[in-house]
Amino acid sequence: MVTFQFIPFQEIESLSSAKRINKLMNIVKDNKIVIMEGRLKKEEEADLIEITMEEISPKFQGIELSVIYPDQNKQDAWQKMKGKFTNLLLGDRVGLTIIGPASIVKKIEKNPDKIELFTKELNGKHKNK
């Protein structure tokens, strides 16, 4: 059985970067797949990889991570401005982040507007859009 845990943005909004990453890591290490509203900051993504590496052991092989986010390079000036204004007011809750334990998630393919998640146990795929 594969368990998905949804993390709404308000649950991580007020947390520091360290606590945010810690919260996500604890869920993943509990063999659950995180579906988080919004995305981490770029630096937090790098921190998440660093912390994952520190945690690697024969029992924990790491994570699979994927983020769906509107491609800013394809947005016009008005869309970019609207996005920045919304982020300023509500926080960067646009997009979706998926983090799963490597022992369960074989790979996550992004293409680029859809995510295909291949699990090891089910040998099937779930699509999130």
Partner: protein, 211 residues
């Protein structure tokens, strides 16, 4: 305490006319993209010696390798000197059993996995030391992996100039257009570090990111 003040002075000292003589050019990317092969190509072409060992098994480079004072010349005779920094491949998962499947013994595989995790951490920590970065991607693979996006996003956030080397264009499956579509904000050069294809164009582009 004196170290603290030295660092503080260093942070606030700004001399626009000072010659930047220690440009650090980093090679970043996921494992097995060809960073070390490219490092060897650059060193062989300009210093007459190789720099790193390469292997078909991922995470061959598990430590930061630096080659100081690499000077390249362009067609106009202009010179660019930099320290070339070959970094371990950045990954989100490392399983020692993958190394066993590649033929390593269990003890060696475990050691390699442990060293590889440290290598990834070092590579990320070294991002802040870079003046310019060549992101080396395997052109036969999907460029939309989160590791690629995270690396490039972090370089962008730090305002570090980036050149993307789409490596392995000698292979049939290589698709440079896909990499260009994935990262339209950066210059993408299709190269074969192994066979030296397009490296002249690559060197010309280095002058733009390394100046």
């Amino acid at each position: 305490m004196s170290g603290f003040f030295q660092n503080l002075l260093k942070k606030f000292s700004f001399n626009p006319f000072a010659k930047k003589d220690h440009v650090k050019l980093g090679l970043y990317g996921p494992p097995n993209g060809g960073k070390s092969t490219l490092a060897n190509r650059v060193c062989l072409d300009w210093l007459g010696e190789e720099m790193s060992t390469v292997s078909h098994i991922a995470h061959e480079t598990r430590e930061i390798n630096i080659k100081e004072q690499v000077t390249i010349k362009n067609k106009k005779g202009k010179e660019l000197t930099f320290s070339l920094v070959d970094t371990p491949g950045i990954a989100t998962r490392i399983d020692y059993e993958d190394f066993i499947k590649k033929g390593l013994k269990k003890i060696e595989a475990k050691r390699r996995a442990k060293e590889a995790t440290k290598g990834v951490i070092d590579a990320i920590k070294w991002l802040d030391n870079m003046d310019a970065v060549v992101v080396v991607l395997d052109a036969t693979l999907d460029p939309y992996s989160q590791v690629n996006i995270t690396i490039i996003g972090n370089l962008q956030a730090r305002n570090i100039p980036v050149l993307i080397a789409a490596n392995k264009v000698d292979l049939k499956k290589a698709n440079i257009e896909l990499i260009k579509a994935a990262f339209p904000q950066y210059k993408v050069i299709g190269i074969s570090a192994k066979y030296g294809k397009n490296v002249e164009i690559f060197y010309e582009e280095l002058f733009k990111v390394g100046k």
